[in-house]
Subunit: 232 residues, 2 copies
DNA sequence: TAGTGGTCTAGACCACTGT
DNA sequence: CAGTGGTCTAGACCACTAA
């Protein structure tokens, strides 16, 4: 039952109570919660109010709900790990043919990728990052990366067209060692990388591609690679 | 106006339309959207339906809304950056007195922290990570970290009590160089670190401490420090 | 005081799932 | 078929903000 005089909205009280019961394990991962109609009786509120509470838990990623199936406590899963140590070193590249493949291999999974290549003029932010004039041509590689068939990562690479012209970087398949290997062959020795890591809620497109349930954030990694001579 | 025959729920159509207008800049960051009553007229749906759409955008972190203020497009902000390069090196530690202070310093901000120390028996997961027997005593340091007064990070450290007994690690203020410096002084030379990075939605407690708006995820970093001799 | 978003109800219909 | 969650409405009252 909710406390109508506390000033705390009823749906929040319901949500908090369910959250608590999930936290202490009264509702374990994979377990089905009482139906919304049952919760209506238990807490003495209307169906919409219960639904609003369930909705909140869904946005937080705590539960999933499907018609006919009921409300289920979500188990947490990790699909893939990025192993950072020497992840982008030349040695690792030569041996495994790319960091993504290596990450998957350490888990015994089968990686695959769908690649598209296109060219577009650099907008202001891209131009600044790559230190090229605004509007100059940029090679864009779009990748949808899968392990065992499920999409786990979306990647977009942008390079100054000058660096990629005539190289396999402009082909969907860049060959052994990937883009970085081709750049080095073309005389652009790699120096350092700077990665920015963030997290945000996915766009609807990303959510459907990555098959994310509500309330599951994505991690963003923005990497700028610098040549040995300092050019991005 | 929404398309009633498309099968797509009305509130999703409204949300998608607003999302689109935000994406193309028709509603710029900081700008106020039309009021819910106006949206009701514009899309030809009920107030609850509009509210549901606005709710979804809030869960995604796209907008904020307050009574009297209206619905406002949220600007994205970065409060603090962790600079990874040599972040945990002995040199950095001696110079700046801890990674957190260094991160804040690079932005010209004033860091502060509130620290609590307690001791508890190791539960299974902690015992495994620290390679100590389950139930053995563990030193726990809870930190609430602020820059310029606002909470930006919550940290919990756990160490085998054996390593900390009689050292300043058991005091709230560990002194210059922090915990790692004290451990090295006590003869526990540091070897390597392994950090696991993840992202999830905050718990309500975290959300209020960090003053997070709805739809803003937190980044989790789990670091295990290993001594030169390999003990965690 | 007028306008804003926040909450809540009662009731309705729908699509989906399992038996 | 019964039960489930998903959607939607019309209408109500509230607390808050700004003029």
């Amino acid at each position: 039952m909710v406390d109508r005089s506390s000033g705390v909205p009823a749906y929040r009280q319901v949500a908090e109570d369910l959250r608590e019961k999930i936290a202490v394990g009264e509702y374990a991962p994979g377990v089905q919660l009482p139906s919304e109609r049952e919760l209506v009786d238990a807490y003495g509120v209307s169906e919409s109010t219960v639904h609003e509470a369930v909705n909140a838990l869904q946005s937080e990623g705590l539960v999933t709900s499907e018609p006919g199936h009921g409300i289920v406590v979500r188990p947490s899963t990790i699909v893939l790990e990025r192993v950072a140590a020497a992840r982008l070193s030349r040695a690792a590249r030569e041996q495994d043919g790319g960091a993504f493949r290596a990450d998957a291999a350490t888990r015994g999974l089968t990686p695959s990728a769908e690649v598209g290549v296109r060219f577009e003029p650099a907008v202001a932010r891209v131009a600044a990052r790559l230190a090229v004039p605004e509007g100059s041509e940029v090679t864009v590689r779009d990748r949808v990366m899968r392990v065992d068939g499920v999409v786990v990562q979306l990647a977009v690479s942008r390079l100054p067209r000058e660096l990629t012209r005539g190289t396999a970087v402009e082909n969907p398949d860049t060959g052994p060692g990937g883009t970085y290997a081709r750049l080095e062959e073309a005389g652009h020795a790699l120096g350092s990388f700077i990665e920015h890591v963030g997290a945000r809620m996915p766009t609807p497109d990303e959510a459907s591609l990555l098959q994310l349930a509500d309330g599951v954030p994505v991690i963003t990694v923005t990497r700028v690679a610098y040549g040995a001579d300092g050019t991005p």
